[in-house]
Amino acid sequence: MEPKPSKLRHEQKQETIGQTGAQETARAFSSVEEMLREDAATNGPPPALAHRVADSIASEPKPARSWWQRIFSRRPANP
């Protein structure tokens, strides 16, 4: 007995997904660096971390500027 058309379509879809999976998991990297870059691209910091850092910085006193920053940030006197 032949399967119903709907079931056949379902099986065909399953097969397509399986093939896609085989292609993805078989992906080859040309170097260790390339593999690590791919890994880094999928492992970014959680979005909440930016809030956490911003909150912590907000409660910090403003950092003191070094002597050279103070000198070079001075505006020239008006003529």
């Binding site: 993805e24 492992n43 970014g44 959680p46 909440a48 971390l49 956490r52």
Partner: protein, 213 residues
């Protein structure tokens, strides 16, 4: 100096779900009536300049901490501490090196200190499967999730099996912005030594990676 609007990090990785289960989102106490910040909103930087620094460098800094420490929660804490330390020491940054290199230096010292502590050596890691699943939860294709999860786990396992110096050099060389000279400065050796050790580190990584299959 012009400032760009500061956007929140990419939603590619939804660690927010994972974090919500294990660690509080923020240590800072929100203002009355303000409530906790929404994960998808923009952080309110008191220093827009530092917000830009965070946006530009947080991803590689977090990644270095993640793979060096091997634990997403500790990597998050370490990244927080590194940027806080950088903010406090911003006046000492003279621009002799690139900002990225300076931040890497703080990160490496911080992570090494963490690894050396008694607590770190004896604590039970919470980098269990649930955390890794949370790290790729936002990816749409489940097959892609499987791939990312497997890749990350195998890389972590492989790196953990390597000597600390090899691990660090491989993580640094993966950042295309860093030159061999900068890597040499960060690891306190000559550029030639870096090249030689990297060659051996790559071979060791590939051998270990095949074993981890």
């Amino acid at each position: 100096m012009t400032t760009k609007p500061v956007h929140s990090e990419s939603s590619l990785v939804s660690d927010g779900t994972r974090r919500a289960k294990s660690v509080p989102v923020s240590r800072a106490t929100p203002a009355p009536g303000e409530g906790p910040p929404a994960a998808g909103g923009r952080p309110k930087w008191t220093s827009l300049e530092f917000g830009e620094i965070y946006e530009e460098h947080s991803r590689p800094i977090y990644y270095l901490a993640l793979r060096f420490l091997g634990d997403p929660t500790q990597a998050e804490d370490a990244t927080h501490d590194v940027f806080l330390k950088a903010y406090r020491k911003l006046g000492e940054f003279r621009g002799d090196s690139a900002m990225r290199t300076w931040l890497y230096r703080i990160t490496i010292n911080h992570c090494k200190n963490l690894l050396q502590t008694w607590h770190q050596r004896n604590m039970v890691s919470n980098a269990d499967d649930a955390i890794w699943e949370g790290a790729v939860a936002s990816t749409e294709n489940p097959l892609r999730v499987l791939e990312v999860k497997e890749l990350g786990q195998r890389i972590q396992k492989t790196l953990a099996a390597l000597p600390e110096e090899y691990r660090l050099l491989l993580l640094l060389v993966a950042d295309e912005r860093l030159s061999y000279d900068e890597m040499a400065a960060l690891t306190e050796q000559s550029a030639d030594a870096v090249r030689g050790k990297l060659h051996r580190a790559r071979k060791a990584f590939i051998a270990r990676f095949h074993k981890s299959a």
